[in-house]
Symmetry: C2
């Protein structure tokens, strides 16, 4: 949580940004959606300083967006998983992705959101263009799009 | 645009955050949606240093999210208005607002998104709960909600 900066703001956007608006935080959450779990995986993907990553992960756990789970005893090792509230951040993340695809061109979409059920393309409002269903956060995944290139980041 | 930080990221989320992910930037855009136009209005709403606000406005104009318009000749005065691409940021902003309302409680919503046409409540995916329409960015406004208190910020 950012220290006090938005304290005088009676606003759910400002409150949300206190928790996830810090530099890198939304990209850590994006990587968690892509299946990354372990500190070294996030570090390799993002290329940020380890102390910064440690701090951001700690804050996201504190915000209830990620949960820290022990996956090995000797030596003790932890991984990070999205909570239910963390998974609901797919809605603003997809909206930011679509906005970038539309307005920061010319470039082709590095990733495309897809309806897991029917394979249709999903709009920024979680509407399937193929079957017309309005989808829940668990019904959508992303796959490499026409603009994908190595190294893939999202 | 943040200097180079996400350059190695082939990702439309990261690219979008380069433009609007800086501290305060999304709150400036939120205030523009609420009708604020002038430097002093943003400064009063956000309570940030004038040099920081100057920098953020300049970047948002450079990103094509805001446009700077002269509204007075003597002395010369400018105001800032959302562009078409800026108005499309209402989708991720509303999604962030709804996420905060749901997960950062207990608190009541300071503002509620409403379908301009029928007055129905609007979900984070721009679906009207009353008439069932899937709405465009121009069909939605926000109004004070049950958690509104002075000073109102969003």
């Amino acid at each position: 949580m950012l220290p006090r900066s938005y304290d005088n703001q009676n606003c759910s956007i400002a409150r949300t940004l206190e928790y996830v608006g810090e530099r890198w935080s939304l990209l850590i959450i994006r990587d968690a959606f892509l299946g990354l779990r372990r500190f070294d995986e996030f570090q390799e993907s993002l290329g940020i300083a380890r102390n910064v990553l440690t701090d951001r992960l700690r804050r996201l756990v504190g915000a209830g967006v990620l949960v820290r789970m022990r996956y090995q005893e000797r030596p003790v090792r932890y991984e990070y998983q999205l909570t239910e509230s963390g998974r609901e951040l797919s809605v603003p993340l997809l909206a930011l992705m679509h906005w970038g695809d539309r307005h920061l061109g010319p470039h082709e979409a590095p990733r495309v959101a897809e309806h897991t059920g029917c394979g249709g393309e999903v709009t920024e409002r979680h509407l399937c263009r193929k079957c017309g269903a309005l989808l829940g956060t668990g019904d959508v995944h992303t796959r490499p799009g026409p603009g994908q290139r190595a190294p893939a980041h999202c």
